[in-house]
Point group: C2
Chain length 377, copies 2
């Protein structure tokens, strides 16, 4: 579907749902029923969707649109989501969409569970984990190695379940006001970072600051933080992070930030089987849409950022190794007191080791050849 059609359809959804929620107008399905006497259509299901991503980020917005438009189209308007509510606009905390679902204020949230690792470390696993598998491997673990079932077992006590909703791909190390020679340079630095990476950096004396993504650029520019981390060149450029710091480190220490649709279990259980299947398939469309969008737009953005003066710097390998070792220790400590986390993190790690063994055979060597030969063209 073309982008313009997406946006047009999304506009229609919002308008009709606004009326339906306010109780002032008939939905499309109700109108159809009125037009066909004797045929009693069931009342349309309308879900409230909240998102932790700011409006400026068109990549996650495309994920919401893909879900909303697909769901509306395949159910002919019988099951829709209303994405009007964006909790982060009025809140100072970086993420609150999961809480809105748990408190019954919305049926579905679009977020990365990584943002909720401080509530329960199992959420960190679902967000991709530092030094976890890359994006394609994480999808393989979720969909083919029972990872999604394991996660949803763990999320049950929180009253929610997840459907995969896209991945950023390997993230960058972020924006630094000053160059850094190694982990020593993190001590005392204020870092705008949300999620599982915050605890890891704190091990080296960094001071993580809970700042919503849309406020990172201002904090960086004003000197309230020294380092800002989000995902990669396209998002980061949209947030204006390049205007706040010149040094951009690569790679980061996560193979991808996994996005999810988080659903209230009671709302899920109340759905008909066809609506559950429709929601799952619509989430798959969103999963593909978001990954494709990051892979397409990051490629264009990195070239632009360098042209605008961003100074790309490789993350020192010794720093990567020290972060890796610290992350192993951190993971082991959490696993010692949290059996659900242990089950999940062991499962990811076992698969990741196997997956990377294969990766280095065909996939990595093909990429290696292509990177070299493209550079020569």
């Amino acid at each position: 579907m073309k982008r313009r059609q997406f946006l047009h359809a999304a506009g229609m959804v919002t308008a009709s749902l606004g009326a339906a929620l306010a109780g002032t107008g008939a939905s499309r399905a109700q109108t159809a029923a009125e037009g066909a006497p004797g045929k009693a259509e069931p009342k349309p299901v309308v879900w409230r969707l909240v998102s932790d991503f700011p409006e400026a980020l068109d990549t996650p917005r495309a994920g919401v649109e893909a879900l909303a438009n697909t769901l509306t189209a395949i159910t002919d308007g019988a099951f829709t989501v209303n994405a009007a509510s964006q909790p982060q606009k009025t809140q100072k905390q970086p993420a609150s969409a999961l809480d809105a679902v748990r408190e019954g204020k919305a049926e579905i949230a679009y977020t990365s569970t990584a943002f909720y690792a401080d509530r329960d470390p199992v959420f960190g696993v679902g967000g991709g984990m530092p030094f976890g598998p890359n994006a394609r491997q994480f999808s393989a673990w979720l969909l083919d190695r029972g990872g999604l079932d394991l996660l949803n077992d763990a999320y049950r006590s929180h009253g929610v379940l997840a459907l995969p909703g896209g991945n950023t791909g390997a993230i960058t190390g972020g924006w630094f006001k000053q160059e850094i020679a190694g982990v020593e340079g993190l001590a005392g630095k204020r870092v705008g970072v949300t999620g599982t990476g915050a605890a890891l950096l704190a091990r080296f004396g960094a001071l993580p600051q809970p700042i919503p993504p849309q406020d990172l650029a201002a904090a960086l520019t004003a000197g309230r933080i020294d380092i800002a981390q989000w995902t990669g060149p396209h998002d980061d450029e949209r947030l204006g992070l390049n205007k706040g710091a010149p040094f951009y480190y690569y790679p980061g220490w996560q193979g991808g930030l996994q996005f999810s649709f988080i659903i209230a279990r009671d709302a899920w259980d109340a759905l008909s089987a066809p609506h559950r299947a429709a929601l799952t398939a619509a989430a798959a469309r969103a999963h593909d849409t978001v990954q494709a969008r990051y892979d397409a737009l990051n490629a264009a953005a990195i070239r632009r950022l360098v042209a605008l003066g961003t100074k790309l710097r490789p993350t020192p390998q010794a720093m990567m190794s020290q972060l890796y070792t610290a992350n192993q220790a951190l993971t082991a400590e959490i696993a010692d007191t949290n059996p659900a986390f242990r089950t999940l993190s062991d499962s990811v790690k076992i698969f990741s080791t196997e997956a990377y063994l294969w990766w280095q055979v065909a996939e990595y060597t093909y990429d290696n050849f292509m990177i070299r030969v493209r550079a020569q063209d």
Copy 2:
């Protein structure tokens, strides 16, 4: 959804559809209508699905199951596919499913259009192309760079359109009876290979043989061919190729073999808008399922193959470079006489160059670190 549920649901689909096709039984939707007097349900839509993949390959079979089960579930049985017909069982040619759709014998085919590059080179582009982008980048081109729209414009003259249905990931160079030092070793060799790679190898004097995948192992064992190429360790082991030759070369010269659902345009046009959306979303599920399955199962298979005695050999870098140069020449020659092919291949190449420029920043360097550190664990 768990694998057992998939298979169970697929069995139910086949049974009820068999009866529907034979005109002997009522479909689920019809039964529902009879149970609700006064409510006239529309007749269910039943499509015939043909596949070019043999039964032995559980990866593409999982793609068909994901499509069929998702479609049945979200339409509550109002739109189903009958996957009983497998044309390759009775035909000697490697691929014929596209022809079945064009001849009106089926509404939908599951295949890789690469197998039809000899009919029209534009089909070769849709299958992934030698030295094309890797699987994630190809998805990005299809879904975010207008690639799928471009392909479907080109396929219009053939009366079909495509939906993406999975990707193998970077393929291997295949199974060789004897070691090879470079492209010189290809001269006079009989190669069991289907698709765009055949014309490329023929440039170096190789003799491509059109052999269906399920017959490759017997041909290799009996010495009727010297080299056999299919996709990667899991499929290749299922086909028994490792029993026919000891040397397994990596990487191959394609970033992934793209699978597609090929749909008759007249059948597509006759669908309701919700059914078109349902089919598109079901294909997205299949796309994710197949990629995840290859990424999970190849990882396990490569370890097993090496334990069974397979001798992994790196494809000589000079051979890769010579194949690359020959492929550029071949592509330029086709483009000179085929404007539709030129439009497509230029679009892929422009994006691929940009995508690999970004890839070498975060994604490749992250994989590089993970491969090294995992090997040390």
